[in-house]
Symmetry: C2
Subunit: 215 residues, 2 copies
Amino acid sequence: MTKKLISAPLPTLKRLPRYLHILQDLKAKGIKQVSATIIAEELGIDSIQVRKDLSTTGIIGKPKIGFELNELIDHIVHFLNWDNMTDAFLVGLGGLGKAILGYDNFKNYGLNIVAAFDTDPELLDTKVHCVGVFDIKKLEDLAQRMKIHIGVLTVPVSAAQEVAEKMVAGGIKAIWNFAPVKLKLPDNIIIENVFLSQSLGVLTHRLAQLKNTEA
Amino acid sequence: MTKKLISAPLPTLKRLPRYLHILQDLKAKGIKQVSATIIAEELGIDSIQVRKDLSTTGIIGKPKIGFELNELIDHIVHFLNWDNMTDAFLVGLGGLGKAILGYDNFKNYGLNIVAAFDTDPELLDTKVHCVGVFDIKKLEDLAQRMKIHIGVLTVPVSAAQEVAEKMVAGGIKAIWNFAPVKLKLPDNIIIENVFLSQSLGVLTHRLAQLKNTEA
């Protein structure tokens, strides 16, 4: 497949992986064809929305039949760039960094972590979950030489900005940031934040409130 | 400390853990006092916002001095209910579930996973990262008997709704949901979604677009 230049709005981009999970479940059940209506019902959202999202990716269904399941899966995977395994570096081997290295499943989403970096001398030149660990001093040079474009950032808050700048200096264009800080980087750098402590904070605070209300 | 009935808007709740990370960094550097201005500068946000957020939690700073660092940290930790370790069950020991069990750091945020559940006979009655694994059939009964209020949901999409309903039947009031599906549960159940594949999808799609633009 040749890569086409299609852009999609953020809400569509966020729904596509959810469609994919549903489609893969249906495939596992031996189903061969699927309609936007079925996807919409499974997810409890509007079928017009699903039809619109799918048409954004450029795929066209057949009237009354819908989509060939395999074709639709391949199409979405391709649209998300998940068929094109992307090599990435991970920096910061605390608990979260190690957990991410150990979570093999990101490979299904096209992410292949090929090296990890830390400052801890005890970790250097070892392997964690089969991935080699290098001194953070080598990050910039190795990223350039290996043409790495994705960085996974799992360092403490205090180091996040500095390490992110090193990633950018090494040619990294997209950062998956787990350090709960807003990075200040050039506009052309893609940043996706996952702030787990924020999410957990919302949950535990609301739970405490609920208990107060009930008490 | 007695628990007070204070509610906070969602954006404030989401910023508080970020303030906490900054404050803990400052504490590690030996700093004793801090102002809203310093926090604002560190995070690159407006100091009026910081002042407003902190006052929502009920703490009052001293003019010109600001806040005692330790007092402010304790205050935010308490407001987020993180000083009150909350026992939780985790259901679904795939890669992500195991990674979360292995990530000790959630204890700093008050989350203490005391048992895990799965359907895989090979895992039952073993321990994963020192946490006992039980048959999912026992979930409802054990949750009731142990008065568990938080469930961490890391099962595949196809099982998520059913397992979430079992959690609710067992008295669980708050679900940290990592399965990329919108759960349909009673309104009084607190749900926080973390959809990692969505976040990664946005990142990889945008990176592909960027490469197309540059090509």
